[in-house]
């Protein structure tokens, strides 16, 4: 589970952005792009978006719902939610440790020089 996103290589970061976007509920491609950009600040290109969607779908992390007027919404599966949770907890640990170290240095790198 921990390495599920790592195995996606260069698609790992777009995968995280898409899983994050879908954690708020089902979305179609355009809404995923908009939400991912709002959440991460990075714009997913349409080719990258669909290359990543197809990989996430093949791994059972997301699933397509019936298309609505040529637009197909996707939603997170249980496995996708668990993968996202694991990744976020891992990132949370890094953030906590980093902030704690910055706090301990009282003033950041300049204080150590």
């Amino acid at each position: 589970m921990r390495n599920e996103l790592a195995s996606l290589g260069r698609f790992a970061e777009p995968s995280l952005a898409i899983l994050l976007a879908l954690s708020g509920g089902p979305k179609h491609g355009y809404a995923i792009m908009a939400d991912a950009r709002a959440l991460t600040g990075e714009r997913l290109g349409p080719g990258t978006l669909y290359a990543t969607l197809s990989r996430l779908e093949a791994r059972g992390l997301i699933e397509g719902l019936p298309a609505e007027d040529r637009r197909r919404p996707y939603r997170l599966t249980e496995a996708g939610a668990a993968t996202l949770r694991t990744r976020l907890e891992s990132l949370g640990g890094i953030v906590d440790a980093g902030l704690a170290r910055l706090g301990a240095s009282k003033g950041g790198p300049a204080a150590n020089s």
Binding site: A6, S7, L8, G9, R10, F11, H28, G29, Y30, M33, G45, P46, G47, T48, L49, Y50, A51, L53, S54, R55, E57, A58, A67, D69, R70, R71, R72
Partner: protein, 227 residues
């Protein structure tokens, strides 16, 4: 190029699954140059990762191993020294065809690394493909009696360096046997011809046999689509 034409660059099977919704997405906004380049990359990715594993790399590896083996046998059986005037030119067609066949086999080996191919895998692919292409050009030039000098050896060495990097990357991705065989083939490729060609033939035959077995087991580069 219009959105419809860009989507048309994707494989038919991919378009059947995602084409309509991708077209709808593209029609919803304006397409910039970055988007068009991204779509071209996406189409290339979809072709490289077909829904059903392609037998092409396996067939290419088998063809290359057969050609290289034939060349090695001719080399061993010939009664004159390797530098006999005109001998190498006569042997060139087999080598040229072998290098052509090695190119898709090399790409197939890289696909075994999956999405997490890593810097070494990507570097190996680029260097190996560039080296094989340069080697091919040098051999074709030699066949046309334009040149048969150090450029051929340099190109072949670059091709082998890239192949060796791919072998190391494969071994590092838990494909140890295949990686060792590929790296071994690369080492044989830079050995003196009398020893190198037979070893190159044996190593590539082993690589091809491994790819056949893996393909038969369903362990082949698969696409992201669920077939």
């Amino acid at each position: 190029m219009s959105a419809t034409r860009l989507v048309g660059l994707y494989p038919r099977e991919w378009r059947a699954r995602y084409g309509e919704e991708l077209e709808a997405l593209l029609e919803a906004g304006s397409l910039g140059l970055r988007d068009r380049i991204d779509l071209l990359r996406g189409a290339l990715d979809a072709h490289l990762h077909p829904a059903r594993p392609s037998p092409l790399p396996v067939v290419a590896a088998l063809t290359a191993s057969a050609l290289v083996t034939a060349h090695a046998i001719i080399l061993a059986a010939q009664p004159v020294p390797l530098d006999w005037p005109g001998y190498l030119e006569e042997a060139l067609p087999l080598v040229i065809l072998a290098v052509v066949a090695l190119l898709p086999a090399i790409v197939g080996l890289w696909l075994k690394l999956g999405d997490a191919d890593g810097p070494l895998g990507r570097l190996g692919l680029v260097v190996a493909v560039a080296g094989h292409l340069a080697w091919l050009v040098a051999l074709l030039a030699a066949a046309m009696r334009i040149d048969y000098g150090p450029l051929t050896a340099i190109a072949a060495t670059v091709a082998m360096a890239g192949t060796a990097a791919l072998g190391v990357a494969l071994a590092g991705h838990a494909r140890i046997a295949l990686g060792v065989l590929v790296a071994g083939a690369a080492l044989a490729g830079v050995a003196p011809p009398a020893l190198g060609w037979p070893l190159f033939a044996v190593a590539w035959t082993a690589v091809a046999a491994t790819l056949v077995v893996q393909f038969a087991r369903g362990d082949a580069p698969r696409g992201p689509l669920i077939a």
